[in-house]
C-alpha cells in the first residue's frame, strides 16, 4: 500500500479547491442604464478586473459593456447571455475531458477497479457481515476523512492569514506591491516559513502526481494492452512529461498545455480515489464533502470564505497550480504576447471563481505581466470581453470525476448510469454558474452537481436500468 503522506496535502488541498467563486463585482455604471440587473437569471456576471478598485473608471465601461454605450438593451442582454454561455462551455469542455479520461481508464484498465487496500484515512473495512455494520463503518470513514480535511484546511488558512498581518499600503499597484512585499520580508521569521511551507507542500504534491502516479498509470495501461516498453524509454517519457508539467503548472507555459496538465493530474487523483476508497464510503464522502464545501464557502466563518476574502483584500492572484483557468489568450494587437498570455490568467481574474488564493509570492514576472495589458487597453476595447476566463478549482474536477468514475466502475457494466451522471453533473455546473452570475460572489461548485449526480446515479441504477433492460429485451422503443 502506498503511503499517502504527500497526497495528504493533495487531498485537503483538493478541498481547498472545491468551490467556484466570483468576486464582489458591482455592476458598472454605464451598463446599468441599459438593463435592470439580472432578470431571468441567465445574465452573466460582470467579470471585473483587478484594477477596478484602483482605476475604477476605465474597466467597467470597457470590459463589460464592450465599449459602446449606445446599444439597445435587448442586444446587450443577448450579448451577455452569449458571453455567459461561452464561459459555461469553457468549463464544460475540461470537465468533460477529465471525465472521459477517467471513464475510459476505468472501463479498460482493470487495476483501478481492483480492491488493493485502503487509504489510511479510511481505516474501517467494508467487508463486514451485516449491512448495518457496513453502513456504520462507511460513516466512520467519512467522518475521519472529513475531519482530516477540515483540520488541514483550517491549518492552511491560518498559515495564509498569518502572513497577512504584515501591514502594507494597498493603494499601490499590484506589481509594485509584490516587489515590496517579497523584498520586505526578512529571511527567517515564522511567516516566511509558513509561506514556504505552503509552497513546498504544493510542489511536493504536484511532483508526486506528475511522476509517481503517472508512472503507475502508464505501467498499468501498458500492462492492459500488453505493450512492452523498456526502462530507458519509460524514464525519458516520464521525466519529460513530469518536468514539463512542473514548469507549466508552477511557472509559465502555454495556456493550453497548462490546462491539459491540470486536467491530467485531476484525472490521476480521481483515479486514485476511485481505487482506494471503498464503495459505500466513497458515496458518503461525496455527499459529506459537498455539504462541507457549502458550509466552508458560504458561512461567514467558513475557512474557504476567509481564504477568499483575505486574498481579495490583498488583491492577490490565485496560485495557478490549484485552479483551472480557462482564460483565453490576449488577441492580436498586443505588443508582448508571451507574458501577457500568462497575464490573461491573473490579470482579469479578480478572483471570479477561485477558492484557494494561495499567494504566489516572489514571482519575478509580475511587473511585466501587469504592464503590457495596461498599455494595450485603448486599442483593445472590443476584444476585452474575450479575455475573461473562468476558473474552477481542481478539487471540483476531481470529485466530479470520482462520481462519474464510480458510476462507471460499479454500474454493472452499464453505460446508461455513467451517462446520466455525466449529464446531471454538467447541468449542476451550469446551474452553479448561473447562480454565480446572479450572486457574484464565491460559490461552492460541488453541492448542486454532486447532489444531482448522486440522485441520478442511485435512481438510474435502481429504477431506470431495469426498465431500459426490460424494454430492450422486448425490443420496445419509447
Amino acid at each position: 500500500m502506498l503511503t499517502f503522506m504527500a497526497s495528504d496535502s493533495e487531498e485537503e488541498v483538493c478541498d481547498e479547491r472545491t468551490s467556484l467563486m466570483s468576486a464582489e463585482s458591482p455592476t458598472p455604471r454605464s451598463c446599468q442604464e441599459g438593463r435592470q440587473g439580472p432578470e431571468d437569471g441567465e445574465n452573466t456576471a460582470q467579470w471585473r478586473s483587478q484594477e477596478n478598485e484602483e482605476d475604477g473608471e476605465e474597466d467597467p465601461d470597457r470590459y463589460v459593456c464592450s465599449g459602446v454605450p449606445g446599444r439597445p438593451p435587448g442586444l446587450e442582454e443577448e450579448l451577455t447571455l452569449k458571453y455567459g454561455a461561452k464561459h459555461v462551455i469553457m468549463l464544460f469542455v475540461p470537465v468533460t475531458l477529465c471525465m472521459i479520461v477517467v471513464v475510459a481508464t476505468i472501463k479498460s484498465v482493470r487495476f483501478y477497479t481492483e480492491k488493493n487496500g485502503q487509504l489510511i484515512y479510511t481505516p474501517f473495512t467494508e467487508d463486514t457481515p451485516s449491512v448495518g455494520q457496513r453502513l456504520l463503518n462507511s460513516v466512520l470513514n467519512t467522518l475521519i476523512m472529513i475531519s482530516v480535511i477540515v483540520v488541514m484546511t483550517i491549518f492552511l488558512v491560518v498559515l495564509y492569514k498569518y502572513r497577512c498581518y504584515k501591514a502594507r499600503s494597498h493603494s499601490v499597484a499590484q506589481a509594485g506591491l509584490k516587489l515590496l512585499d517579497s523584498s520586505d520580508l526578512p529571511p527567517w521569521p515564522p511567516k516566511v516559513l509558513g509561506l514556504h511551507f505552503i509552497h513546498g507542500w504544493l510542489i511536493m504534491s504536484s511532483l508526486m502526481l506528475l511522476f509517481l502516479f503517472t508512472y503507475i498509470y502508464l505501467g498499468e495501461v501498458l500492462k492492459t494492452y500488453n505493450v512492452a516498453m523498456d526502462y530507458p524509454t519509460l524514464l525519458l517519457t516520464v521525466w519529460n512529461f513530469g518536468a514539463v508539467g512542473m514548469v507549466c503548472i508552477h511557472w509559465k507555459g502555454p495556456l493550453v498545455l497548462q490546462q491539459a496538465y491540470l486536467i491530467m493530474i485531476s484525472a490521476l487523483m480521481a483515479l486514485v480515489f476511485i481505487k482506494y476508497l471503498p464503495e459505500w464510503s466513497a458515496w458518503v464522502i461525496l455527499g459529506a464533502i459537498s455539504v462541507y464545501d457549502l458550509v466552508a464557502v458560504l458561512c461567514p466563518k467558513g475557512p474557504l470564505r476567509m481564504l477568499v476574502e483575505t486574498a481579495q483584500e490583498r488583491n492577490e492572484p490565485i496560485f495557478p497550480a490549484l485552479i483551472y483557468s480557462s482564460a483565453m489568450v490576449w488577441t492580436v494587437g498586443m505588443a508582448k504576447l508571451d507574458p501577457s498570455s500568462q497575464g490573461a490568467l491573473q490579470l482579469p481574474y479578480d478572483p471570479e471563481m477561485e477558492e484557494d488564493s494561495y499567494d504566489s509570492f516572489g514571482e519575478p514576472s509580475y511587473p511585466e505581466v501587469f504592464e503590457p495589458p495596461l498599455t494595450g487597453y485603448p486599442g483593445e476595447e472590443l476584444e476585452e470581453e474575450e479575455e475573461r476566463g473562468v476558473k474552477l478549482g481542481l478539487g471540483d474536477f476531481i470529485f466530479y470525476s470520482v462520481l462519474v468514475g464510480k458510476a462507471a466502475a460499479t454500474g454493472s457494466g452499464d453505460w446508461n448510469t455513467t451517462l446520466a451522471c455525466f449529464v446531471a453533473i454538467l447541468i449542476g455546473l451550469c446551474l452553479t454558474l448561473l447562480l454565480l452570475a446572479v450572486f457574484k460572489k464565491a460559490l461552492p461548485a460541488l453541492p448542486i452537481s454532486i447532489t444531482f449526480g448522486l440522485i441520478f446515479y442511485f435512481s438510474t441504477d435502481n429504477l431506470v436500468r431495469p426498465f431500459m433492460d426490460t424494454l430492450a429485451s422486448h425490443q420496445l422503443y419509447i
Partner: protein
C-alpha cells in the same frame, strides 16, 4: 461481431445527429447548453416513468408472464406521455430563457433525441464489440442493424417532433401537440405489435418522412427554398453563412 459492426452501427445510429450537432450547434455555446438541458429533461422524464413502472410492478406483485408484458406496455405509454409533457416544460423554459426561439429549434428535439437514442442503443453497441454470434437461438441476425436504424429513426423523429411541437406551442394550436403525442405513441406501439423488423422499420420511416416534411414546412421552408438551397442559389443562405464567418 467486430469493430466493423461497432463503428458501422454507431455511425448509422448517431451519424446524422452528430452532423446536426457539428453544423448547427457546436458553434454556438448557448445552443450547447440548451442541448444539454434538453437531454437533462428527457432524462428526468425517463426517471419519472421508470418510477411509475417500478411502483406499478411492485403493486401488482412481481409475477412473470403476460402481466409483465402488459405492465411494460403500460410503462412505455406512460413514458411517452411524460416525455411529451417534459417537452412542453422544456418549451416553457426555452421561451423564458431566449427570445429567438425559432433559431434554436433543431436543438430542442436534438437534445431529447440524442439522449433517447443513446440510452436505447449504447449498451447494445458496447456488446457488439465483444465476442458472440447474433441470432444463434433463432432470432434475426440483423439485430444490430435493425437497432441502429431504429435508433436513427427515433433520433430524427425527436428532432422533427421538437420543431413541430414548438411551432404548435408558438401558434397555440394544441391540436398539433396532440398529433405529436399520437405519432409518438404510434411509433412506440408498432415496435411491439409487430415483431417483423421490416414492417417496423418501413412504417417508422414513413412516419419519419411525413414528420420531416411537416417540420420543414413548419420551419418556414417551401419547395422553392428547397430548390434554391439544393442548387446553391439561395442568396440569403449564402450571405448568412458568410456573415456568420
Amino acid at each position: 461481431m467486430t469493430a466493423a459492426v461497432f463503428f458501422g452501427c454507431a455511425f448509422i445510429a448517431f451519424g446524422p445527429a452528430l452532423a446536426l450537432y457539428v453544423f448547427t450547434i457546436a458553434t454556438e455555446p448557448l445552443r450547447i447548453i440548451f442541448l444539454i438541458a434538453g437531454a437533462f429533461f428527457w432524462l428526468v422524464s425517463l426517471l419519472i416513468s421508470s418510477l411509475v413502472w417500478f411502483m406499478a410492478r411492485v403493486i401488482i406483485d412481481n409475477k412473470d408472464g403476460p402481466t409483465q408484458k402488459y405492465l411494460l406496455i403500460f410503462g412505455a405509454f406512460v413514458s411517452v406521455y411524460i416525455q411529451e409533457m417534459f417537452r412542453f416544460a422544456y418549451y416553457k423554459l426555452l421561451k423564458k430563457a431566449s427570445e429567438g426561439l425559432k433559431s434554436i429549434n433543431p436543438v430542442s428535439g436534438l437534445g431529447f433525441g440524442i439522449m433517447s437514442g443513446v440510452f436505447s442503443f449504447v449498451n447494445t453497441l458496447s456488446d457488439s464489440l465483444g465476442p458472440g454470434t447474433v441470432g444463434i437461438h433463432g432470432d434475426s441476425p440483423q439485430f444490430f442493424l435493425y437497432s441502429a436504424f431504429m435508433t436513427l429513426v427515433i433520433i430524427l423523429l425527436h428532432v422533427f417532433w421538437g420543431i413541430v411541437f414548438f411551432d404548435g406551442c408558438e401558434k397555440k394550436k394544441w391540436g398539433i401537440l396532440l398529433i405529436v403525442l399520437l405519432t409518438h405513441l404510434l411509433v412506440s406501439a408498432q415496435t411491439f405489435i409487430s415483431s417483423y423488423y421490416g414492417i417496423n422499420l418501413a412504417s417508422a420511416f414513413i412516419i419519419l418522412v411525413l414528420m420531416g416534411t411537416w417540420a420543414f414546412l413548419a420551419a418556414g421552408g417551401s419547395c422553392r427554398s428547397l430548390k434554391l438551397c439544393l442548387l446553391c442559389q439561395d442568396k440569403n443562405f449564402l450571405l448568412y453563412n458568410q456573415r456568420s464567418r
